[in-house]
Subunit: 418 residues, 2 copies
């Protein structure tokens, strides 16, 4: 079968299955999740063997160590996958929640009910555990799913998908609710992102190139994460001890994550007090510092930052530092260079915190806290399918609620419009 | 200047002005709205003269009476526009509302803050009052706006836009927050819908052809309303008196609106009791009835409905009627033919009402109420910029809240991630 015909068939099956998916009770969904976990537990040896095929093929194709590491399913990772399934089963079901139901002057009651989106397409790269994680979140939120993983993990993914299919069937749930694209043909991606009649939303997870390509070519809504160029701004009214611990944590707690601070903005009135202490304290983390002219005059070991630095997500032990003349200048820098992911102000001044919080337009705005907190688990979502840097539908960490929308409900008792 | 350069310039100005727009206080926005109202009131004669130019040009170009009627600004309509401005000023400001702020185990507080979308592009047809209505809703919700009205109303729109500009300036608000496209070149629309860097969302208002074209060509998110193929389903456990008044109201209260019922579904067990009474009572409204085979056997004056009827939004005194064998069959009919706008079930049975409400996937689901209630004013939104038949961001009637999104806020006091 032609790839686009094959994807179209998956899409039609998914659309059809989405009717059952949205009508599943919480109990039915949880039973299905546990049933999938049991089957994976019973087939661990099969899964490890399938994964070994991927790892060996990857070695032969010369994948980097980092990519091989993402690919491999150790016993601990399989345990983690199973634990993840149970955690999703334990999460509250967002579907059907009714809010804001109130009487109107006409006598009708009007409110909103949370409902699944429909069919979610997930396009991701080499990590096979995403297959199970994404599938479980979509199932719990009442959606049908079409999963398209990277070709490097195809044997692992097929094995996991078979466990999902058998787990759903054992729980009397239509297996078409969760389908894996089993071809490694790259044309499958192009087909998935251009059939809005069958797939309601695409969530890409992977490198920036993949995501930019999908966004440019999709005719389906995309919930995406592009850059994480996050800022910590140390205000002139900052408590410098808090500023030190927060900004160092924001840069060094992990270097490769999207919520790591990449640029430190420092108010000029406290720069000469703050920056030397900062430089001393961050020294043990071996972070390369790149500064603006004013910062260079204060720091002892920094190199000059070019305008490219302000627009770069390093994902590495590098930090750019800029001294700013005012809160307004800090906000203008953020407006210009931020990827609208996460920004934090360190200040003891109430009015300035309030202004920063209101006026800065990023998905997470923090006061006196490390940007590293921008995360679905830290926010209490229980799980995270991604972090959106878009403005619509879902902003910031996306959990189960981000996989739903709200419809209106109206309760009358024979009411007619006058 | 080239049209696309001109639109690009408007877009850049709007993006820049959106920073001021989102920082405006409620009081500043309300003063600006009143200031615009005062200027329009002072220039009524100028506005009427400008509108007369449009009407005369429309007559010369042979516009239909319906189109000329939409174009003309009577004294009552101008009063209505002014009253609308004052009502928008009276609405609660959605911007800055913080919800769900709660402590997490780490000690940070996490919540959500409602924020403007940014820059909203409105593309509409001949009614000049939309210019003021859309502008006022976007301003109140803290957005910058680019308005592109129909060429038939260009003189009226330019006059209204000048009043807006002067009103904003008099209230010390950047006039670039609300800009009108002053060229009638159709290429302006194509340019507006393909500059996601400068316009965040497009709201088209007008005929289906316009909206389909915009949706197909836009690279910007579109909040749109396509069809209104709404259903009323009279269940076998319906109170037939309520069923009669609700279904007749849903069809006849107005024929040309999107929330008018176009197809009546009737459970076969009550069809012989219900349909003759329905036919008698709807007779005075001169509605043409088209029925399925079973309905035709009961109705005395109906003609056969073809499969085209189930998929047609009549916007006219025509109703298609289908007898169904079960609640499930009614829901399958709706799933197949509905435009996902509004559906109502008439039943006294609790479980069947609950099931219909949960499983039917349309933007408004009603129980024992007329579909004609699907309206921003009836729902208590205070105003309505449109009704969305999309699933994302805004579903159903879209008021001020639909012109906003939510960002996360995190309050700490020197908190770092462990």
């Amino acid at each position: 079968m032609d790839v686009s015909d094959y994807i179209l068939q998956l899409g039609k099956q998914a659309r059809h299955a989405s009717r059952q998916a949205r009508a599943l009770s919480t109990d039915e969904k949880n039973k299905a999740l546990h049933s999938i976990a049991e089957i994976i537990q019973a087939r661990r040896a099969v899964l490890v063997a399938a994964n070994s095929e991927d790892v060996q093929a990857g070695r032969e194709r010369g994948l980097s160590d980092a990519m091989l590491d993402r690919l491999i399913l150790t016993p601990e990772r399989i345990d983690g996958m199973l634990e993840g399934l149970r955690q999703v089963a334990d999460l509250a079901d967002p579907v059907g929640e009714i809010t804001d139901l109130s009487y109107r002057p006409s006598g009708i009651q009007v409110g909103k009910m949370r409902v699944p989106l429909g069919v979610v397409g997930i396009i991701y790269e080499s990590r096979p555990n995403v297959t199970l994680e994404a599938a479980s979140l979509c199932l719990k939120s009442g959606n049908a799913t079409v999963l398209r993983g990277g070709s490097e993990a195809i044997h692992s993914n097929r094995c996991i998908a078979q466990c999902i299919t058998d787990g759903l069937a054992a729980a009397d749930v239509d297996p078409a609710i969760i389908q894996l694209v089993t071809t490694t043909d790259r044309a499958a991606v192009g087909a998935m992102i251009t059939m809005p009649d069958h797939i309601d939303v695409i969530i890409p997870r992977g490198g920036k190139t993949l995501i930019e390509r999908i966004t440019a070519e999709a005719s389906v809504l995309v919930i995406k994460h592009l850059d994480g160029i996050c800022h910590t701004y140390v205000d002139k009214f900052a408590d410098l001890d808090k500023a030190l611990s927060v900004s160092i944590n924001a840069k060094t707690q992990r270097f490769g994550t999207c919520n790591t601070t990449e640029t430190l903005l420092v108010h000029q009135e406290i720069a000469t007090q703050f920056l030397p202490r900062f430089e001393t304290q961050i020294a043990s983390f071996e972070v390369e510092l790149r500064g603006c002219e004013q910062a260079l005059a204060i720091l002892s070991k920094a190199t000059p930052a070019s305008s490219v630095d302000w627009a770069t997500e390093y994902l590495a032990p590098i930090l750019s530092i800029r001294v700013v003349e005012s809160l307004a200048a800090a906000m203008t820098h953020i407006e210009t260079y931020s990827s609208a992911h996460t920004e934090s102000i360190i200040t003891q001044d109430y009015s300035r915190a309030r202004r920063f919080m209101t006026e800065v337009d990023s998905s997470s705005i923090m006061v006196n806290a490390s940007t590293r907190f921008a995360d679905g688990f830290e926010y209490g979502l229980g799980a995270e399918i991604g972090i959106s840097t878009d403005k619509f539908h879902a902003r910031g960490p996306v959990g189960l609620e981000g996989l739903t929308s709200q419809k209106w409900i109206v309760l009358g008792d024979g009411h007619t419009r006058a």
